[in-house]
């Protein structure tokens, strides 16, 4: 199973990299779809059909909406040159040098803390979350729900679900506000 999972993840990475460098926005969008549907296969292989159903439906709807938007546009990415000109002098080389120095410094900084933290963690596969064990053992009796995921989402973690619903509500309000500001004129 891990070999199949690795192959799917490699395809997802290739699709994501292609989406960055594609000339046409539509092909970039379709290669983004590879990432989404690959994630569906990953969820199925990892035995999470709930998430797989949600992912496949939401991915399809968002892809349809995005394709409808892209087909109405010019289908080309706006190109902006990364050249800073002040008084006719180009500062490109200075910016490259500063960027490289910053990247190296932060990489060393993060590597040091990664080395420090990796030895204090448990071994791979041994989880330290005792809460999840309690959920798996007692959730069915305490909530009465045969589906443990729904039982946890709507009973133990009701606040999470309320926040999730509120996020969707706020997103809709934002979209209506943006799209109707022009429509009313």
């Amino acid at each position: 199973m891990e070999i199949v999972l690795s192959i799917v993840i490699v395809f997802m990475i290739l699709g994501a990299i292609y989406a960055l460098y594609a000339k046409d926005l539509l092909s970039a969008l379709i290669s983004c779809g590879i990432v989404g549907y690959g994630l569906v296969i990953c969820f199925l292989l990892l035995q999470a059909p709930d998430l797989a159903i949600v992912q496949i439906v939401v991915e399809t709807i968002t892809l349809v909406i995005m394709v409808a938007v892209v087909l109405n546009s010019t289908r080309e990415e706006l190109k902006e040159k990364a050249v800073v000109n002040i008084d006719g002098v180009s500062y490109v080389h200075q910016r490259y040098i500063v960027n490289v120095i910053l990247v190296v410094v932060f990489a060393l900084f993060l590597l040091y803390f990664f080395k420090e933290s990796i030895f204090t963690l448990d071994h791979f596969g041994e989880h330290v979350t005792r809460m999840s064990t309690a959920y798996i053992e007692k959730a069915a009796e305490q909530t009465g729900s045969a589906n443990l995921v729904t039982g946890i989402l709507f009973d133990f973690r009701g606040y999470d679900t309320l926040g999730e619903a509120t996020i969707l509500f706020t997103a809709v309000i934002g979209i209506l506000t943006i799209l109707r500001a022009k429509g009313k004129k």
């Binding site: 938007v69 909530t143 979209i175 429509g183």
Partner: protein, 144 residues
């Protein structure tokens, strides 16, 4: 937005009811199968399919389409009302499960969880369809 070819229309006519019913099934069996979010997305998908296949004239769209937005607000209102009702009934805790739990695996069991599922399903379906409708109306009215 114009409709598609007769082949797409006929296939949509045959299949859209099944998709809608499948979404309703997932929502109502939320405590046994995947919950309200997935079912709401499936229901919204059936409406989106209908609009894409038959064109936007089928819904008699107006410039200000408020029906789906009102339904979405009612969905989230139902969710919060159910959550707040727990303060006044039974153990007096926010989000408490105050209805009898029943037998695990039955359709009517798990107390309030199926009602939460229905509220979230209505909310998600109406929200996704409202986003789609807002884009359709924007294209019809503004970009004309």
């Amino acid at each position: 937005m114009n409709g598609m070819t007769p082949i797409v229309k006929k296939v949509t006519q045959l299949i859209v009811g099944l998709i809608f019913l499948y979404g309703i099934y997932i929502i109502t069996h939320g405590h046994l199968t995947p919950g309200g979010f997935a079912g709401g997305a499936v229901v919204a998908g059936s409406f989106v399919l209908l609009v894409l296949a038959y064109g936007s004239n089928i819904l008699k769209l107006k410039k200000r389409e408020e029906g789906s937005s009102v339904v979405e607000s009612l969905g989230i209102l139902l969710f919060t009302v159910l959550a707040f009702a727990a303060i006044f009934i039974g153990t007096k805790v926010f989000f408490a499960n105050y209805l009898p739990k029943g037998v695990i695996g039955e359709l009517i069991s798990a107390g309030v969880i199926p009602l939460y599922n229905i509220a979230v399903g209505i909310e998600v379906a109406a929200a996704l369809f409202t986003i789609f409708l807002a884009l359709v109306i924007y294209k019809e009215e503004v970009l004309k």
